[in-house]
Symmetry: C2
């Protein structure tokens, strides 16, 4: 059966309601399109866990700041459609911005505290935009299970918290970060990188690997590990704008005083016009 | 069949999911308990529109300000249960505050702009608390249709906006204000009034009736009508704290410059320790 492409909220809701009434289990992978193996791995992860697999492709204006890359964010629906089909999707929900944010839209969902650290201060309003669009998509697609990538660790944690706090009857599955052969985390934004920046971009993975190996060799002071990771970035890139290198607990994403338990090492670096993020989750 | 009393989120969600899978249509009336004919009229309104009728009884701490009447808000579960049963409810959802707001709760739903006028400035955070708990209850009860009272006009408008903005697949029905014989709007808080205050409290209805009759006699300047309504309140009460008398459009609850179209006359008065609100909706 060819993949079903739906672009209106009403059509998607009716489709999902009809499937649910038939007892079908719905899986959902929300994306901003320009798909890569990170996205398709999430689809493959959910495929055996549901009867009907839905992907959304929607570049969400609400999660972009006024000076961010909304207008130049890469788009290729035809290619995305082929990748969704190959990954086993049954339905693509592909609404316009006007369909999602009609005139007179006034509501947002805020997950406080977890949005205060890491990317939060660098992208004011970003996680409101993420939480709001995901709440909307959950009500439109009505899935039983939804998948998000570990690459966007703060987003994944905030979505899990929102689902718990607002009692969405949805299981959240987090899929592992998919990387290029040299360690760079796959991202739709990697297409922005010049050949030189692309080479330098592996330093994010290098810094995380260095931090991990220090912790495996019993480093427990986050300040010492963070300093070494920053130094690695500075030594391996010509002019990086290091936005943050932080070691936080995985529960509420606030900095740890001592490295123990389940921690997240996360960093964000701006390379020219491209902002890259990456993280490792470790159990100590 | 006796009414079913559920107090856990998981039990309520399982109950609703099972009913939905059987194709049952669920109706929902959220309340803070201490029920009166305003509440039961909403139940009677939904009874013929659904297969299974659920009422929630939950005094929501998140919608009370720090100096408001949360601790003394009246409660009587046994009587509420009888009234629900008599009004045709099948299920009462009656969770504890800890069940709804477990430790580490961090999320809120905000409907901006519509919360800026009327009660908004007088009850900071109130409508965040209302929108958040209703979003939660919608995800827990998963109704097809839910009813709210016109007495809380701003709440009703905000809920309708939230449902539209977050794409909840739920029909919202607004039931008319139910009044005592002398015009006082029924409210759980009327029990706070002393006999003298109870007599004075009819002035709210009196002021609204005066405003309505002026508009019916072609008054179109909201300032003139509001001034007459305020004067009525001041003349018929000994020491009213008039919080607001406003004439707003019903769309976004902002003041009108000219009385035309569909408008809401709304007022809030504090009588001793009791805060009373009331409103008329008019088509001009």
């Amino acid at each position: 059966m060819p993949i079903t492409l739906l672009d209106s909220v009403a059509a998607m809701q009716q489709h999902s309601l009809a499937l649910r009434t038939k007892g079908k289990r719905l899986g959902f992978v929300p994306t901003m399109g320009y798909l890569h193996e990170g996205h398709t791995s999430l689809m493959q992860l959910l495929r055996p866990r549901c009867d009907v697999l839905v992907a959304s492709i929607f570049v969400n204006p609400m999660q972009f700041g006024p000076h961010e890359d909304l207008s130049r964010y890469p788009r290729d629906l035809e290619r995305d459609q082929q990748l969704c089909e190959a990954a086993g999707c049954d339905v693509i929900f592909h609404p316009t911005p006007q369909e999602i944010y009609p005139a007179g839209f006034h509501t947002h969902v805020a997950v406080e505290y977890l949005a205060e650290t890491l990317c939060g201060p660098w992208r004011p309003g970003h996680f409101h935009g993420v939480a709001t669009v995901v709440a909307k998509l959950f009500n439109i697609v009505m899935p039983h299970v939804a998948a998000f990538g570990q690459k966007d660790a703060q987003q994944a944690t905030i979505i899990k918290q929102m689902v718990r706090d607002l009692n969405f009857p949805i299981d959240i599955v987090i899929g592992p970060t998919i990387r290029e052969a040299d360690g760079l985390a796959k991202s739709s934004r990697n297409v922005y990188l010049s050949p030189e920046e692309r080479l330098e971009a592996t330093s994010l993975y290098g810094a995380l690997s260095l931090g991990k190996s220090m912790i495996e060799k019993d480093a427990r002071d986050p300040a010492v590990v963070v300093a070494a990771m920053r130094q690695h970035l500075e030594q391996h890139m010509r002019a990086p704008e290091i936005q943050y290198v932080e070691i936080v607990n995985t529960r509420d994403l606030h900095p740890v005083e001592k490295i123990e338990g389940e921690i997240l090492m996360a960093l964000a670096v701006r390379l020219g016009k491209t902002r890259l993020i990456d993280n490792f989750m470790l159990k100590v």
